[in-house]
């Protein structure tokens, strides 16, 4: 993956720390931050590979990417929202609603349509968030905290309180299968990362999201329809969550209405690790994707070392803080 040209300049804060300069220059040029993240991924993979050679097995590595895909797609969606200076706490619950919807649709309609419908349900959840936020003026944190609970409840109501089984094989194959050895979710993850990075740098929509997050009053006075663009960001985040819901239902062969909280926090972690500011106005799609990969690698690697799940949580948390700390030090040295 050569992400170097896709990284928006806003996030291209050259960080001299955190890796060998040879690697940085070779891999990422201006986007040294992404370079740093890649170095971390390589180091992690190498480390775990030395300890457990089977970790380097292509099948295992692909499996790690598969784990990263769902969180990664979710993190991409969240990045759109964070760029505007908002946050969407409901994406985890949206995954639950859409997973259940996908399961139920799959029993009625052809697989491709069921997938599209799931994405549509996710987009609707996002639209509700976006409209509530822009029309009422209530802060995104509060609105999505509310809808997080509402959507989680809806998922359970629709599913009748239990998992939805009987997912048609055609549906499972449509999303859980693979092409040329690459699982479809991984393929989607890579494509969406590239597309999102391009959207951010080379579309007016992306430019406006950054402007709104940077200074919404300035954006408004420049004639930008702030509400409309902000709401669209939530729709994108919801649609991304919808795709994740469909993927999970296909992979598990059942729709679990209790999915959610875990995914939300991991997705936010991946996003901030990738250099997106919670205050808005600065962010990186490639960074979010790399963040998701780092977390998945760490989790898989620790599992391969037989580290208990409880300790894994501690390690992932420490990694998030460490990543931001390194970034901070690099920045302050620059200043």
């Amino acid at each position: 993956m050569s992400q170097s040209t896709l990284t928006p300049p806003e996030s291209a804060t050259p960080t001299s720390g955190g890796g060998t300069s040879v690697d940085l220059r070779g891999l990422a040029g201006r986007a040294a931050r992404q370079g740093g993240l890649i170095v971390v991924i390589i180091a992690l993979v190498a480390g775990f590979g030395i300890a457990r050679p089977f970790f380097l097995d292509p099948t295992n590595l692909m499996n790690v990417l598969l784990q990263a895909a769902v969180v990664g797609i979710l993190a991409l969606g969240q990045t759109y929202v964070l760029l505007t200076g908002g946050i969407d706490l409901s994406i985890g619950s949206t995954v639950a609603v859409t997973a259940v919807s996908a399961g139920l649709f799959a029993q009625q309609v052809p697989a491709p349509l069921a997938i599209l419908l799931a994405i549509g349900v996710g987009a609707l959840c996002g639209l509700a968030n976006g409209l509530l936020i822009t029309v009422t003026g209530i802060t995104p944190f509060i609105v999505t905290l509310g809808t997080m609970s509402i959507y989680a409840g809806l998922a359970l109501i629709i599913a009748g309180g239990q998992a939805v089984y009987g997912i048609p094989v055609a549906f499972e194959n449509a999303l859980a299968g693979g092409v040329a050895g690459i699982p479809i979710p991984v393929f989607l993850f890579v494509v969406l990362t590239v597309v999102s990075a391009l959207v951010l740098k080379y579309t007016i929509f992306g430019e406006y999201l950054i402007a709104i997050g940077g200074n919404s009053e300035v954006a408004r006075l420049a004639g930008i329809r702030v509400g409309q663009h902000t709401a669209t960001a939530y729709v994108v985040a919801g649609a991304a969550a919808g795709l994740c819901g469909a993927i999970l239902t296909a992979r598990l062969g059942a729709a679990d209405p209790t999915l959610g909280a875990d995914l939300l926090l991991t997705a936010i972690a991946a996003t901030v690790m990738g250099g997106t500011k919670l205050a808005g106005g600065q962010g990186s799609m490639a960074g979010a994707a790399f963040g998701a990969i780092i977390i998945a690698t760490l989790t898989a690697g620790l599992t391969s070392l037989n580290v208990q799940a409880f300790y894994q949580q501690v390690a992932v948390g420490a990694a998030i803080i460490l990543a931001l700390l390194v970034d901070q030090v690099a920045r302050s040295r620059k200043a």
Binding site: K201, Y202, T203, I210, R220, A335
Partner: protein, 518 residues
């Protein structure tokens, strides 16, 4: 070029002529800076700068934007650490890592950019960080007493129990001043304290500065208003491009021209950008019956093409609110807007832009720029170049570079605006609006807080727009500016336009009389 100035440089540590209450010939300066240097990536902000301020002295720092004044003040106040050099307080070397260290030795600072906590009251802001406790809890009665006393000295007449965000910029500035005064600091740094004050408010501030001087406080003063500098200063130290030009006693300075020469090393044409004299053309902007409940009351006026109309008034008279209501940034309860004789429906700022009205806001940082975005993005904010929703970064850069060219400035357009100096940031805002090719330009305090050189350029731009047949409305609290620039002057008071003065009728007295009369 700077020959004369350099020769006249007295030894920096020389004692001030005025206000010498000290006895011996060798008084120790309250604050002394020696050989201070500070670099930022790619920029040498300060190089071997030194000056000394004595107790009972008003010491002015002079320099164009980017000369290094702000950096110097920040290092003295502990916001930034110098790369090398010494700071001495009462002759003892000090080293600050944080502003609280500077405060601890008796230094207070009035910041140019407001530094109040906007959601809490004036009282809370005044005692912030210096709350006195009784039985472990904040003694609010004592805090109120302290705050009221400081604010009374400035004859502050706004409510002190509401969040400061509800106060006007000028009122907030007074709170900021009161905070510095109430610390009983022996060294007070004031970075352009009058930038947003009306002349009456400034007068009060000057009285307070006189009091401080007599009480033996060392006041370090920064202002671009040369008249003020002449009136107030005991000594003046000038900086240019991060280097020390020199320090002069007030008695060695004959006129504003001398100050300008110290600052820029060349003579500048005085603030004599007069009206064009040409006959203004047809109507450019007409506003009828605009009201915003509580702030603007049934205002009507017109600006013809080729004309600069000044909009004067006390801060809080409703001028900014009027402009914002006209362009649809704030809701108006009534009123219609006509551009070149045709009625335009304006509900939101985008409508105003489409109708050819540009508003250059007062507060650059909060209403003018997205600081983390690049210059190119900021310049092209309202219409990023591209097709079908796609954005061409290459053309964006080219467009921005092109738009900045006439503004006589050099900057890399792909760097964040945050890294630019105040003057250049102002030019980025200008470039954005100039390229809209609007027919109507509304400038809100266009030269607030910028140096003489840049001020002249902006005046020339405004005049140029008028000469090119645009209608220009200029809101300004700088009376000499209003008088020098305007073909006509409108005066607002309490939300209404109370006077319209022709060029011949508009004098400092007449404008102030209308603005203040009851």
């Amino acid at each position: 070029m700077s020959e004369a100035v350099s020769q006249a440089v007295s030894e920096p540590a020389e004692e001030p002529a005025r206000g010498s209450t000290g006895s011996g010939t060798h008084r120790v300066p309250a604050l002394e800076v020696r050989d201070l240097s500070k670099s930022f990536p790619g920029v040498k902000a300060l190089e071997g700068v030194g000056f000394a301020a004595y107790a009972g002295e008003v010491h002015t720092l002079l320099g164009e934007n980017g000369a290094g004044k702000s950096t110097l003040l920040k290092t003295v106040f502990g916001v930034q650490r110098p790369d090398s050099g010494e700071i001495l307080v009462d002759g003892k070397p000090v080293s600050f890592t944080e502003p609280s260290d500077a405060m601890a030795v008796g230094i207070a600072m009035v910041h140019q950019e407001l530094s109040l906590v906007s959601e809490v009251t004036a009282i809370q802001n005044l005692v912030l960080g210096r709350e006195r406790r009784r039985l472990g809890v904040i003694d609010w009665r004592e805090a109120r007493r302290r705050a009221t006393a400081a604010l009374e000295r400035l004859r502050f007449d706004a409510p002190i129990d509401v969040p400061v965000s509800r106060l006007s910029v000028a009122q907030q500035q007074l709170v900021e001043l009161a905070r510095a005064i109430s610390t009983d600091a022996r060294i007070i740094i004031m970075d352009e304290p009058t930038a947003s004050l009306t002349s009456a408010e400034s007068e009060r501030l000057f009285e307070v500065i006189e009091d401080l001087r007599s009480a033996g406080t060392a006041v370090i003063y920064v202002s671009h208003r040369l008249k003020e500098v002449l009136d107030l200063s005991d000594r003046v130290t000038a900086l240019r491009d991060g280097c020390l030009v020199g320090t002069k006693r007030r008695s060695e300075i004959a006129s504003e021209d001398d100050l300008v020469q110290m600052m820029v090393g060349r003579e500048l044409a005085a603030l004599g950008v007069s009206g064009s004299g040409a006959e203004p053309g047809e109507e450019g902007l007409r506003v009828e019956g605009v009201s915003v409940p509580g702030v603007v009351d049934d205002v009507s006026f017109a600006v013809r093409r080729g004309e600069v109309v000044g909009l004067a008034g006390m801060v809080g008279a409703g001028r900014t609110e009027l402009a914002r209501a006209v362009i649809g940034a704030d809701r108006r309860s009534s009123g219609e807007v006509y551009v070149q004789g045709e009625r335009v429906r304006i509900k939101r700022p985008g409508d105003a832009i489409a109708a050819g009205i540009a508003l250059l806001t007062e507060d650059r940082k909060h209403q003018g720029l997205a600081l983390d975005m690049t210059t190119a993005s900021n310049v092209t904010l309202m219409d990023p170049p591209g097709r079908g929703g796609l954005l061409s970064r290459r053309r964006q850069k080219a467009v921005a570079t092109e738009a900045l060219k006439p503004l006589n400035t050099k900057m890399q357009v792909d760097k964040p605006v945050r890294t630019l100096s105040g003057g250049n940031q102002q030019k980025v805002v200008l470039a954005r609006w100039l390229r809209t090719e609007s027919n109507v330009f509304i400038f809100d305090e266009p030269t607030r807080g910028i140096d003489v050189g840049a001020k002249g350029e902006i005046h020339a731009i405004m005049r140029g727009l008028a000469d090119a047949g645009k209608a220009v409305l200029m809101i300004s609290s700088d009376l000499p500016e209003v008088l020098a620039m305007s073909d006509r002057v409108l005066v607002m008071r309490r939300g209404r336009v109370v006077a319209e003065l022709d060029r011949d009728e508009a004098t400092e007295e007449s404008v102030v009389r209308h603005a203040a009369a009851e």
